[in-house]
Structure formats: structure tokens, C-alpha cells
């Protein structure tokens, strides 16, 4: 147990102290953007992972990231809501939508569910193009940087516009959200809810027959998952200061799923590691120029042939990845 706590402390130290120090020392400020993206995508993958945990393959996270992004962007530019308020609002909006969408589609299983969530991504993109207040293909641009966050008159977070280094600010924001997300995920998995979810993953009929409310659990897990997707989308919008219908497309939805696979579906940290490996790997491969995608996809296929159960299954000595 002590080892675990030490590991978590080391991780937190690495994320919040070591990374900024190292970047300051090496002068590679561009890495902040990469790492911030990794942190945000990891939040989205955490949601996908949770739907995997109830035995559903979710390839629709891009839809909720896009939705969250638009909610945040529209609220900020058209209703003048503070960025900090839009984060939870975007999450809640996505969660509410996912309940409405999830009620019918969560009855589907396996590949059927995977297909419909993928279709959902595409439909969300088309909706964003068609709705009157999303500004079509031109998207919403020049979204203001996050202002100051004040609680009872005390400034907790200074305004990003006045910050000497907004990149660092965004990195810390994304990393904090990521840590909170994974803490929540870990708590969910190791609670009664998590045990019930595992029973769904193994055998839904059996779970239902011993009195587990499967319909309720499915929707709940899906809503939490979409909440994470919305969070990631909202913060993404603040960083890029713009959003377009193509900001999150089918490829992103597939990527969210891949991050989970690569990291390993049996481990809470899996999606985080997977996101880091794939996103960083993609960045590192940029020297390959036009062969980047070729090398990347070949590596992915090779990885699948060697470690079909995810990277973290290397450390799984007991041999059961579930």
C-alpha cells in the first residue's frame, strides 16, 4: 500500500514540478502544448475507458468533446459566461445529452454499439455545421482567454491574459483536471459502483438476474464518460481559442478508443499511458515527414501483434488482464 502512495506522489511530483522545471531548463516551450493536449485527451479517454469497463466499445467520445467545446464557446461568446463556469456546464450538458442518446442505444451491444457511437460522431459534426448559432463551417473564433477565477473575492487563479506564460497556466490547468479525473475514475472503479460495472462487463444477463439495475448503471456510466468528454472539449476550446465542426472528427473518436486499447483495458492508468504513448509517438515521428502516418500505423499494427492486450499487460504478472 505504501508503495502505491509513493508511486502516486512520485507521479504528482513529476507532473506538477519536474515537467515545468525540465521544460524551463531545456527551453522547449512547445512541449507544453503537446503535454497539455495529452492531458486533455487523457481525460476524454478516461471516459471511453469507463464505457469499456461496462463492456461497451465507445467510439463516440469525439462527439461529446465537440459538443462540450461548442457549449463552452457559445456560452462564452454569446452569453458572456465566465470560462470557469462553462467547464462544468459543458460537462453537464454532455452528460444530459448522453442520457437522452444513451437510453435507446445502450441497449445495443458489442459491435452494434461501437458502430452507432461512431455514427454519432459524424452526426454531431453535421449538426454543428447546420445549427444556426454555431456559425457553420467558419466555426467560432477569437474566443477570449480565461479570465480570473475568484472565490469570495479572493483570486484563486489569475486571468490568463495577464499571465506571463499562459502556456504553463494551461498545462497546469489540464494536468490538474487530468489528475482529478483519474482520481475520480479510480474511486469509481474501487467502489460498489465499480464492482457492479464489472459484473456488467462479464455477464449482463446474470447481473440483471441477481438484481443489478443494469439499465440504470449503463446510462450512469455512459453519462460520466460523456461528462469527461465534455470537460476535455471545453478546455480545448479555451486553449485553441477557436472551434470548428471538424475540431473533433471521426478520427479523433477512433483515437480516443485506441488510446484505451494501447494502454490496456484492465488498468485505470491505461488510457493515460496510451494517450501519452500514441500522441507523443505521433509527435516524435514528425521527422519521418510524408511517411509519418505509414510508420505510425505500422507501429500500431505491430504493437497489436506483439501485445494484443495493451502495454500495461506487460506488468500484469498474474496473467489475467480483466
Amino acid at each position: 500500500m505504501n508503495k502505491q502512495i509513493l508511486g502516486i506522489l512520485a507521479f504528482l511530483l513529476g507532473v506538477f514540478v519536474l515537467v515545468p522545471v525540465l521544460i524551463a531548463a531545456s527551453g522547449r516551450w512547445d512541449l507544453y502544448y503537446t503535454l497539455t493536449s495529452v492531458a486533455l485527451l487523457a481525460i476524454g479517454s478516461a471516459g471511453v475507458w469507463l464505457t469499456f469497463y461496462i463492456g461497451r466499445i465507445n467510439i463516440g467520445q469525439g462527439a461529446y468533446a465537440l459538443m462540450g467545446g461548442y457549449v463552452s464557446a457559445v456560452l462564452m461568446t454569446q452569453a458572456g459566461v465566465s470560462f470557469w463556469a462553462t467547464i462544468p456546464l459543458a460537462g453537464l450538458f454532455c452528460a444530459a445529452t448522453s442520457v437522452a442518446i444513451g437510453l435507446p442505444i445502450l441497449r445495443l451491444r458489442g459491435v452494434y454499439f461501437a458502430m452507432i457511437t461512431l455514427v454519432l460522431t459524424e452526426v454531431t459534426r453535421l449538426t454543428a455545421l447546420a445549427l444556426p448559432f454555431t456559425n457553420g463551417a467558419k466555426g467560432i473564433t477569437s474566443i477570449p482567454l480565461p479570465g480570473a477565477l475568484e472565490v469570495f473575492g479572493i483570486t484563486v487563479i489569475p486571468s490568463f491574459a495577464t499571465m506571463a506564460n499562459p502556456k504553463l497556466g494551461f498545462y497546469l490547468l489540464a494536468a490538474t483536471l487530468m489528475v482529478l479525473t483519474y482520481a475520480a475514475l479510480w474511486r469509481i472503479v474501487n467502489s460498489r459502483l465499480g464492482h457492479l460495472c464489472r459484473s456488467l462487463q462479464q455477464n449482463e444477463e446474470l447481473a440483471a438476474s441477481i438484481g443489478v439495475n443494469t439499465a440504470y448503471l449503463r446510462v450512469l456510466a455512459y453519462a460520466i464518460s460523456s461528462f469527461f468528454g465534455g470537460l476535455a472539449g471545453a478546455v480545448f476550446v479555451a486553449i485553441s481559442q477557436s472551434i470548428y465542426p471538424s475540431s473533433f472528427a471521426v478520427a479523433d473518436s477512433v483515437n480516443f478508443m485506441l488510446y484505451c486499447f494501447v494502454g490496456g483495458l484492465g488498468f485505470v492508468g491505461g488510457p493515460m499511458l496510451g494517450t501519452f504513448l500514441l500522441y507523443f509517438g505521433w509527435d516524435l515521428l514528425s521527422f519521418a515527414k510524408q511517411y509519418q502516418l505509414l510508420v505510425y500505423s505500422s507501429a500500431m499494427i505491430a504493437l497489436m501483434l506483439v501485445l494484443p492486450n495493451g502495454v500495461l499487460s506487460l506488468f500484469d504478472r498474474k496473467g489475467d488482464g480483466k
Binding site: R107, R109, A130, S297, P308
Partner: protein, 289 residues
């Protein structure tokens, strides 16, 4: 009205062909082939290369697309899907593999054929015109007829040949088929090759009309998924029904809903959700459990 129906039928025939390949692969191996759209694009580019660049007849291009895609499908099954299915703990691992292959094919198409929109010259000139109520270029009619012929041929193959019987047995129950002496590995390979070949054929057919470009792969896969959701996965008749229904809905939707802007697919998706709430396995799919 006649025009809308004709357009719907024409679209539906193409869609049904795409969905057939996807549903065949799915029913045999329980693999959702993400790379199906990319295979379709690849087939289109092969026909383009043979017809437009080498100046050979269209039929040669079509045959080349079919052969190359069939070989590609067989190789993918033998060297990629088979080992992964054997080793992985969860069925879903094949999805990562399929997505990887989709990316790989995208990259390969970009390197081999470039990113430009490509098309081949019309194979037949002239337009069929019935009193301005129904206007249809002859090449579209030809493609429609070819597509229908291919669908009929495919059904005949599945229904009456030994290979088809073996594949249907495999789709029904892999274990039982194996116990009855069906060479499961061999027919999985043939099935995958056949599915990929169908994708390539549609690509070859459509390159004459709509042309082909790199970005068409993903959206095509998505449309194929939609059709399979409508018709029911893994069922031949379902794929055909799904293809024609989607083609018809698209054709009608584009005309009727045009005044409200580009919301056809939104409406199709919303109606699909309602439909699935009542019938999760699609029109003809088998209920699970």
C-alpha cells in the same frame, strides 16, 4: 418524384454492395472492418491507374481492382487478423487492428496515388431522358445494372456454391462448422478476400461517376455502418435492405429537407435511434443472448 426514386435506387445499389462486403467479413469473423472505406478508395484508385493512366479498357481496371483487393484482403486476414484473434483476450482487440489498418491504407494511398481528386472519362456517353420526368445519364444506368448484377451474383455464390455454403455455416456457428469438417481458416480467408474484393469493385465502379479521393474512406465506412445498423449486422439480406433504405432516405431527404439546410443525416440518425429503441438488432438481424 420518379427522379427521386431513381436516384434512391441508384444510390442504394452502390451502398448495398459496400454493405455486403462489410457484413460478410463481420458475420464470418466477428470483425468490424474499419478499413472498409479505405479498401473502397484503394479499389477506385487502382481502376483509375489502369484506365486513365495506362489507357486500358474499363473492364480490365475493374478486374484489376477486384484481384488486387482480394489478394490484399486475404493477406490481411492471414497475417494480421488471424494471429491477433488467436492471442487476444477480448474480441475488441481486433478493432484496434482494423483501425490501424485503416490508417495504414490511408497512408499507403497518399503515398501511392497522391491526395488529388481523380476520375476516369465517361465510359458511355448520352443521357436517358423520359419526358424530363426522369433524367439519368447512361453511364449511371450502366453502373446501376452492373451493381445489381454483382449483388445477384454474390447472392447466387453464397446460396448455391460449396464455398458459399461453407461460409454460411461458418457465420451460423463457427464451432459447429469446424466439427462438421469445414476448413475454418481457409474459408475465413476466402470470406475476407471476397469482402475486400466487393469494396474494391464498388470503388472501381464509382470512380467513373463521382471520382475518388483520399478523404472518402472514412465517411464511406460510416455510411456502411449505418446500413448495417438498419439491416442487421451479419445478415446478407439485411445489408442489401439497409443499403437500399439508406440510399432512398438520402435521396428523398436531400430533396424534401433541402429548405431546412443540410440536416438529412441528422434526421436519418434521429430516426435510426427511434428505430433501434424498438428493434436493436436491426431489420433482419438475429437477436443476441
Amino acid at each position: 418524384m420518379e427522379q427521386i426514386l431513381a436516384n434512391g435506387l441508384y444510390l442504394g445499389a452502390q451502398y448495398a454492395l459496400i454493405a455486403l462486403g462489410l457484413t460478410l467479413i463481420f458475420s464470418l469473423m466477428n470483425v468490424l472492418n474499419f478499413a472498409h472505406g479505405q479498401m473502397y478508395v484503394f479499389g477506385g484508385f487502382v481502376t483509375y491507374t489502369v484506365v486513365a493512366q495506362w489507357g486500358l479498357p474499363f473492364v480490365v481496371g475493374l478486374v484489376a481492382s477486384a484481384l488486387i483487393l482480394a489478394v490484399m484482403g486475404a493477406l490481411i486476414e492471414v497475417f494480421l487478423f488471424r494471429p491477433v484473434i488467436r492471442k487476444s483476450k477480448r474480441d475488441e482487440s481486433t478493432m484496434l487492428l482494423a483501425a490501424g489498418i485503416a490508417f495504414f491504407l490511408d497512408a499507403a494511398i497518399l503515398l501511392l496515388f497522391g491526395e488529388k481528386q481523380r476520375g476516369v472519362p465517361k465510359i458511355v456517353n448520352g443521357v436517358f431522358n423520359w419526358d424530363f420526368r426522369l433524367i439519368m445519364p447512361y453511364d449511371r444506368i450502366l453502373i446501376f445494372v452492373l451493381a445489381i448484377a454483382l449483388i445477384v451474383g454474390f447472392i447466387a455464390l453464397m446460396q448455391y456454391s460449396k464455398t458459399g455454403r461453407a461460409m454460411r455455416a461458418l457465420a451460423q456457428d463457427r464451432m459447429a462448422a469446424q466439427l462438421m469438417g469445414v476448413d475454418v481458416d481457409r474459408y475465413s480467408m476466402i470470406g475476407f478476400a471476397l469482402g475486400a474484393m466487393l469494396a474494391g469493385l464498388v470503388g472501381g465502379l464509382l470512380v467513373t461517376i463521382t471520382g475518388i479521393n483520399l478523404g472518402m474512406g472514412g465517411p464511406t465506412s460510416i455510411k456502411a455502418f449505418l446500413m448495417i445498423m438498419i439491416g442487421g449486422a451479419g445478415v446478407i439480406s439485411g445489408a442489401i435492405a439497409g443499403g437500399f433504405i439508406l440510399g432512398m432516405m438520402e435521396s428523398v431527404g436531400l430533396t424534401v429537407l433541402a429548405v431546412y439546410g443540410d440536416i438529412t443525416y441528422l434526421v436519418i440518425f434521429a430516426s435510426l435511434m427511434v428505430f433501434l429503441a424498438f428493434r436493436p438488432q436491426g431489420l433482419m438481424g438475429k437477436p443476441w443472448g
